[in-house]
Symmetry: C2
Subunit: 432 residues, 2 copies
């Protein structure tokens, strides 16, 4: 049987998953492509750590990338993460006419088009399904199956850490900091959780999704980001009372004159399919002008689920190798920039939680501030009273972001205002 030699760059969580899949499902894979996939080399920083692993017993474990290149594998799987030296390795591999499969969202979000052009020039494949939303098939379906659509919007729950924290706060009534601690204990959050809870990770994935969906060059820097650090148990609870749940959404939205790209927490109606995406699951909700709404749901991370996406790409690449058609399937090739729509103009309904003096006339002061900024109020509820302070919840009608920024400033200087405790977008259920 024909064999295809594979080198793995990196042997962390995903790398081990890939090795495990090739071992466990070898027959399933061979039946499909009539060819054996064999890991011949694994590149790691500290080779000693891996010498005695049973799963690597017939594999060359090396810390020297030249050794990998010299072995001339037909496919290199890059699962080391980070920009350097992953970037240099990938370009060198492609320039040596070696096909590359990568799970590296940081790299793809920054250098997707450049990498893809180098692959095409060298007539080899570069694929990166695993770089967004772990095991969920999304990049290829978005690029190929929905190709006839003008994509109107992409709304993703693409960060497992924040979704775990928010789900836990919703299900168990715990505080943000307790939920974060649990996430850290379970390995869902890192010791320094900034990258996840501040929305940067979601922004990288959104850049990749938007690049493919809107066929343009969108990078991390184009995305405006808000995190979940300010979400309190009270916000969760008030959302729940109105039949909403709070999710961190990565949103790319076509507007009349450009694309708006934002990551923010939002109230999601419980009847919306995104509301039932719990714990470390991810989902991407896509609206096209032809297909209407589609959603892709599944495990957004984890060793085996991510390896499933990597190996899907590897098997596709193997088919291309056997068909002598590598270098023909491209995505993320667009270098054209698109106009970005100012998020200041973007309309949403908003939730406000305000702590105010509990005295007559307060509501009229507050209502005037909203009216002065052209904001219609949908609902005002006094939620609780703490000594001489009252907590108000206000839901606005759809309002441009800039008016919200203005009213926030106006509210903060009102004599009766103790604290503008939180402002969160409210997703409308739309026509569903």
């Amino acid at each position: 049987m024909r064999e295809i030699n594979i080198a793995l760059l990196g042997f962390g969580t995903v790398g081990r998953g890939v090795a495990e899949v090739i071992r466990r499902n070898s027959k399933i894979i061979e039946d499909q492509i009539d060819c054996k996939l064999r890991i011949t080399h694994v590149l790691v920083r500290n080779t000693e750590k891996y010498r005695d692993l049973d799963i690597l017993k017939d594999v060359v474990v090396t810390d020297d990338f030249n050794c990998v290149i010299d072995a001339a594998p037909e496919i290199i799987i890059e699962v080391m993460g980070g920009i350097h030296p992953a970037k240099e390795y990938i370009f060198e591999a492609l320039n040596h006419r070696i096909n590359v499969v990568s799970a590296n969202k940081d790299l793809v979000a920054l250098f997707g088009p450049e990498i893809m052009h180098t692959a095409t020039e060298n007539k080899v494949n570069f694929s990166c399904e695993a770089s967004v939303a772990g095991g969920i098939p999304i990049l290829k379906p978005l690029h190929d199956s929905l190709a006839a659509n003008q994509i109107e919007s992409i709304i993703g729950i693409v960060n497992g850490t924040t979704n775990f924290i928010l789900s836990d706060m919703d299900d168990s009534g715990v505080s943000y900091s307790d939920a974060l601690r649990v996430a850290q204990k379970k390995g869902y959050a890192e010791a320094d959780p900034t990258n996840d809870v501040c929305g940067y990770d979601a922004a990288r994935k959104l850049a990749i999704l938007a690049s493919i969906g809107f066929r343009a060059n969108v990078t991390f820097d184009d995305v405006l980001v808000e995190g979940i650090e300010k979400i309190s148990q009270k916000d969760i609870q008030y959302a729940s009372e109105m039949n909403y749940t709070i999710k961190l959404l990565a949103v790319a939205m076509r507007q009349e004159n450009g694309i708006a790209l934002n990551v923010y927490p939002a109230f999601v109606p419980r009847s919306h399919p995104l509301a039932s995406v719990k714990g470390s699951y991810n989902a991407i909700y896509v609206t096209g002008n032809i297909v209407e709404d589609v959603m892709f749901y599944g495990r957004g991370a984890g060793s085996l689920p991510t390896a499933s996406a990597v190996m899907g790409d590897v098997i596709s690449t193997a088919k291309h190798i056997l068909n002598h058609s590598t270098g023909t399937e491209m995505m993320l090739t667009e270098t054209k920039r698109i106009p970005f729509y100012s998020s200041l103009k973007l309309k949403n309904a908003y939730y406000f939680r305000l702590l105010v003096d509990d005295m007559t006339g307060v509501l009229s002061q507050i209502a005037a501030a909203y009216a002065d900024n052209n904001i219609s109020i949908r609902e005002v509820v006094q939620k609780s009273r703490i000594e001489d302070a009252a907590e108000l919840m206000i839901i606005t009608e759809e309002t441009p972001r800039e008016n919200i920024i203005h009213v926030e400033k106006a509210l903060q200087v009102l004599p009766c205002m103790r604290q503008v405790a939180n402002i969160i977008r409210v997703m409308d259920d739309g026509k569903r």
Copy 2:
């Protein structure tokens, strides 16, 4: 700009959608493939009906298939439906080395492998994404993106008519027959709804899904089918009280010694992602041994959503034509049969609704019948009393189907039994 000529066989709902997409999104499509797609011929039975349509003004409308073949289009889109003459047309097109895209589930469910082999022999493409679940990208993702997985189960809500009826019964509290009438009025159900409500349509789609997922030749006849005709408002209501909703599920399940293939209504826990699939939406929930759970959700029918899937295939085919690589992407080629697992052995929890005499000792008679058939009872609730009859709801533990059939017979002959009103499977929430 290079042009690819296309002929459309059939100009019903989907055919019109395809023409509309090519008109509306032509720029989006041309930007991707650097090539113009042009419908040159439309084959219909009654040409007079279509002569004055604006959208067909530069198109040859004909009732003669030879006229289509003689024009030698590069792609034929078959959206006429039914077996004859669609089957003959498709084989003739393939044998003339014309690529074919089809939305015809009846045909693909019966002759998938045969068609695919003819396509391969002739080095052309045959694709049929639109044959299952309308606009939802499912066949290609299942075949390609999940290729590294051993598929463990496929659970689909793949029939929009029944899902509309069941959602309506759940949301509005109407009876089955009223919901069916509404569905017929809205065009979701046909005058003779048998094909949908009895589960045959879902069974065809399951055959296609299982063929791809389990890489075997599965046909409509392999699927055991139960419909929704017996579901009453009471069943819906009792399900709801226990936090379930009733859905018609198409289920392919890997067992130790084969694959079990069934279509049946079932209680689905409201926390399960399939529970929020409402109205005419479809979803397919796939479990693989690597990826764990993924779900694909969207519009399961309709002119434009289905055309989105058709056109996704057309654009892929166009890329293959331009790359001179048609005939290399195959699915549904397996002719190997797999052992089918007897559905009699398949275990589920079950819901029983029983109408019994309202007198002492009845429960012990009934409990004995279950015990005699090795069925453990999880819950018994007396739901209502009508004159001298009582209505009981019983939920069993997981039990093989054959024991359920036996207990049904045993219950029917009990002196206290007025009616075994309904028996419905209960889907466990599993580890989620």
